[in-house]
């Protein structure tokens, strides 16, 4: 029985391959499996090559997986276009539309042949069972059910959900197609059984994607205003909030451009409301100046950057982790801005709430760095107990402070000064992008400027002690270290488990707080981890470089980084760790 099954499916946009993947995902989730689904497309709006990858397991699924266990190809031209995103291995079961012919020689690594290459007359089966060859992806679901043990009732329920609203007879026809697929699988069993082991619990799991989770968390955290602009792959955050936030008395503004969106959010924050914006790399570049304004005016703001391939327009539909430099350093002048990063859908909730808390507590913009994979992948979740999350609010002046002559930017030991807002009697002040004194009056004095910069940096000093924003696994004295963030951390977690199983002395560090660099945490980690890897998806290895700016990274700890759209696989990370470990012996 299989503990883990990675299915990849490819067709052209009209085939409904992704839709079939969603049905598969919903079916297994309802049976209590853990699962994760990613999608990948060509650049057409419709009808271009399209693929999905569904990973199913009785154990928690940490990442989309590497080599496919099952590959379904409706045609080979589209399959080829996805290249290394859907790698085939010696044990991959390849199911293809019979009419497409056998796989071209170049699609499998040289010297390896897939163990089973199965031509299935998908179109014909669909035509005879359902009356149209368009139902071929439903036949595929039946095949998967028959060969790999996906429970047919669950698939049936998923079909009901998909087709019930779409017209008479479609549901019936597709039920027949499903049955035809199952029958075909039973009539042509695989030469070695590959059935998924049932999950430990049959309680249905929740399904969610990163963008929806982010929007939900924002509502929970008390967000009352969202200003933004559509940009792939963050648009869903705005769409969900535009539907939901007004139900809680909030306002969503789709502004005329990125700058206006964040500007409106800053205005709402000035007016006393928790506010946010969401975008991707190009939008964040545009918002930079207004971010600087929020920093010097000491206004809370959450900016969600769902990273995609860059630079510039880059690869809008692919993940990359190359916005860290921008998130940490963009905006001229001495600006210190916290940057948080989730690693998957589930911790997107916690870290979005944390982003709001940091923003409110420290009166600063906070960047939440998600990425296209996390944002748009759907994964199963255990229920989240929201009562464990604290929700913080900005410090407002007391009646005494207002009566005594309120100073908006008063020097305080913590660096945080109480923040009033329009409507509050006695709290009137001038907020500005220009440097200012404790009252907010414009100044060009070097001494005042120095003390204001010191205040703005001092207030964030407490972040150095936030070890709770880091995950550590493994023995604290292990000489081999693995550091990773964002969606790559999912691969790192799996690699860590595999490496430990192999006996490698490795410890894992997953930072959720990327900036400012919490030096004490890294110093402690690198005190023992003298060799290892920093794993991330960017050409420059941006976290690696940022760490080297602030901490002494041991020379034995190297950057394992590459451009986006080529996610890591656990196996290759384990290989590298193995190589690093060899250096330890010496």
């Amino acid at each position: 029985m299989l503990e883990d099954l990675v299915v990849g499916m490819v067709g052209s946009g009209g085939d409904g391959v992704v839709s079939a993947g969603e049905s598969l995902l919903a079916a297994v989730a309802s049976q209590g499996f853990h699962a994760l689904m990613t999608k990948s497309f060509g650049s057409q709006i419709r009808g271009g090559e399209s693929s999905c990858r569904v990973r199913i397991s009785g154990r928690k699924v940490l990442n989309p997986g590497g080599v496919l266990d099952v590959a379904v190809a409706l045609n080979w031209e589209d399959f080829r276009r996805f290249g290394a995103e859907l790698p085939l291995g010696p044990d991959t079961v390849v199911i293809h539309e019979a009419k497409a012919g056998p796989p071209p020689a170049d699609l499998a690594p040289p010297g390896h042949g897939p163990r089973q290459v199965l031509a299935v007359p998908l179109g014909e089966l669909a035509k005879s069972a359902a009356g149209t060859d368009r139902a071929k992806t439903t036949v595929v679901l039946g095949i998967l059910s028959g060969w790999f043990g996906i429970p047919p009732e669950a698939l049936d329920r998923a079909l009901q959900k998909k087709f019930a609203q779409k017209g008479e007879g479609l549901l019936e026809a597709n039920r027949k197609a499903l049955a035809a697929g199952i029958a075909h699988a039973r009539a042509h069993p695989l030469d070695a059984p590959r059935v998924l082991a049932p999950p430990p619990s049959s309680t249905p799991k929740l399904l969610c994607d990163g963008n929806e989770m982010c929007a939900s968390a924002a509502i929970f955290a008390g967000c009352e205003f969202f200003g933004g602009y559509p940009i792939t792959p963050s648009t869903e955050v705005m769409q969900i909030l535009s539907r939901e936030l007004p139900k809680y008395g909030g306002v969503v503004l789709q502004a005329e451009d990125e700058i206006s969106g964040v500007g409106a959010a800053v205005g709402a924050s000035f007016a006393g409301k928790k506010s946010m914006t969401a975008t991707s790399g190009p939008g964040m570049s545009l918002k930079t100046e207004v971010l600087g304004l929020a920093s010097i005016a000491e206004l809370p703001l959450v900016l969600v950057d769902v990273q995609r391939g860059g630079p510039s327009t880059g690869l809008p539909t692919k993940p990359e982790q190359a916005d860290l430099f921008q998130a940490a350093f963009s905006a001229h002048g001495d600006v210190l801005r916290p940057v948080l990063a989730p690693t998957g859908v589930e911790d997107t909730f916690r870290l979005t709430v944390e982003a709001f808390n940091l923003a409110e507590r420290y009166q600063t913009p906070v960047v939440l760095l998600s990425d296209q994979e996390i944002a748009q992948r759907k994964e199963t979740l255990e229920p989240i107990d929201v009562s464990r999350f604290e929700v913080l609010h900005r410090l407002v002046p007391t009646p005494e402070q207002l009566a005594e002559g309120y100073q908006r930017f008063a020097e305080t030991p913590s660096g945080v000064s109480p923040l009033s807002h329009p409507g509050m009697p006695g709290g009137n002040y001038l907020a500005a992008g220009i440097e200012h004194d404790v009252r907010g009056a414009p100044t060009a004095s070097g001494a005042v400027h120095a003390s204001m910069n010191a205040k703005r940096f001092r207030k964030l000093g407490a972040l150095q002690e936030r070890a709770d924003l880091f995950e550590r696994e493994g023995p604290r004295d292990a000489p081999l270290g693995l550091v990773s963030w964002g969606s790559s951390a999912g691969v790192a977690r799996e690699a860590f488990a595999l490496a430990r199983a192999r006996g490698l002395p490795v410890q894992l560090l997953v930072p959720h707080l990327l900036y400012p660099v919490a030096e004490p945490v890294y110093r402690e980690f690198f005190a023992s981890a003298r060799r290892g890897l920093v794993l991330e998806l960017s050409h420059q290895g941006q976290l690696y470089r940022v760490l080297r700016m602030f901490v002494d990274v041991p020379p034995g700890v190297t950057s394992f980084a590459r451009s986006g759209a080529q996610p890591f696989h656990a196996d290759e990370v384990v290989e590298r760790l193995q190589q690093q470990a060899e250096g330890l012996v010496r």
């Binding site: 297994v28 989730a29 309802s30 049976q31 669950a154 329920r157 998923a158 249905p204 929740l206 399904l207 969610c208 929806e212 939900s216 509502i219 929970f220 009352e224 205003f225 200003g227 007004p246 139900k247 809680y248 008395g249 306002v251 502004a255 005329e256 451009d257 700058i259 206006s260 969106g261 500007g263 409106a264 800053v266 205005g267 709402a268 000035f270 007016a271 006393g272 409301k273 100046e289 304004l293 759907k378 199963t380 229920p383 929201v386 009033s420 807002h421 329009p422 409507g423 509050m424 009697p425 006695g426 709290g427 009137n428 001038l430 907020a431 500005a432 992008g433 220009i434 009056a441 414009p442």
Partner: protein, 292 residues
């Protein structure tokens, strides 16, 4: 209603950086008087500006002020108003801030019709940065960035704002203080997006014939021409004379102002919140994706 607030109750102790003779002194004085007439206490007023000499104006009032970045006052102000529709929101800036870098935001602020008042101090030059060309500079004007004369047709702020459908459009000059005060007051009272283009000359970099002394002889009130401000077409026609004539008064006032954006948002929120109040702690109950 609050106790009477005198104009000086709106005046902050901060000394303006403006050159003596600057038209903006008159503008802020008129604003103090207009605000006094309206009577909202300073803590209920949010005064948002961009960057430029005229954008310094919020700091010279006792209202909550936000001196933001160049060209972005309108979006930021809309965020303030949408976050708290009970505030009186005033926006100020110059012709460059509003129609050059800020130009992209103007149509949307107008069509969105959030209730705020936009005061543009139009002096056909970039004063704060020492006299460069501005989008309303007349063609042929020699400035430090157009030493041989500007090659561009100026933008016509009146025509632009009227054409985008603003519900209240007026022009004023500090050369007529009572008139300007009345117009600012009227604009503040108008329920929706309102715009006053104020010909406020730059005494240091502006042309001699654009100074306030010249205004006194050149200005013509629209009322004296018999203009009916509910006539949008006539307003557009008169607005075409921008640059040639200095017309003061109300070009257009929508006799039937449509609902503001925030009023519609409030309505919608009320509809959505009818019945059971929502608890944010239960937000995940509504997760749309579920297994099975």
């Amino acid at each position: 209603m609050n106790a009477f607030l005198a104009p000086n109750d709106y005046k902050s102790p901060l000394k303006p950086i403006w050159c003596p003779g600057c038209g903006d002194y008159g503008v802020v004085q008129a604003l103090y008087r207009a605000l006094s007439a309206i009577g909202r206490p300073p803590h209920e007023i949010a005064f948002i500006s961009g960057i430029g000499c005229s954008s310094r104006i919020p700091g010279y009032t006792t209202a909550y002020g936000f001196n933001t970045v160049h060209g972005r006052a309108l979006p930021i102000a809309q965020g303030v108003k949408l976050a708290n529709p009970d505030l009186l929101v005033v926006v100020a800036g110059g012709d460059g801030d509003g129609f050059s870098i800020g130009g992209g935001h103007v149509p949307h602020a107008i069509r969105r019709n959030v209730d705020l008042t936009y005061l543009v101090m139009d002096n056909q030059v970039y004063g704060l940065t020492k006299g460069q060309l501005s989008p309303t500079s007349p063609r042929g004007l020699k400035t430090v960035t157009s030493p041989m004369g500007s090659l561009e047709q100026p933008i016509n702020p009146l025509l632009t704002v009227l054409a985008y459908g603003a519900g209240f459009v007026a022009q004023a000059t500090p050369a007529d203080m009572p008139g300007m005060t009345a117009l600012i007051e009227e604009a503040l009272r108008y329920p929706g997006f309102s715009f006053v283009n104020i010909q406020s000359p730059c005494v240091t970099f502006g042309e001699e014939e654009q100074q306030l002394r010249a205004h006194k002889t050149r200005m013509k009130s629209l009322a004296s021409l018999g203009h009916d401000p509910t006539n949008q077409l006539a307003a557009l026609d008169l607005a075409r004379a921008y640059g040639t004539e200095l017309y003061t008064g109300v070009f257009y006032r929508n006799p039937d102002p449509p609902p503001t954006y925030e009023a519609l948002v409030r309505q919608r929120q009320a509809e959505l919140q009818r019945g059971e109040p929502r608890s944010r702690a239960r937000v995940l109950d509504g997760l749309s994706s579920r297994g099975g």
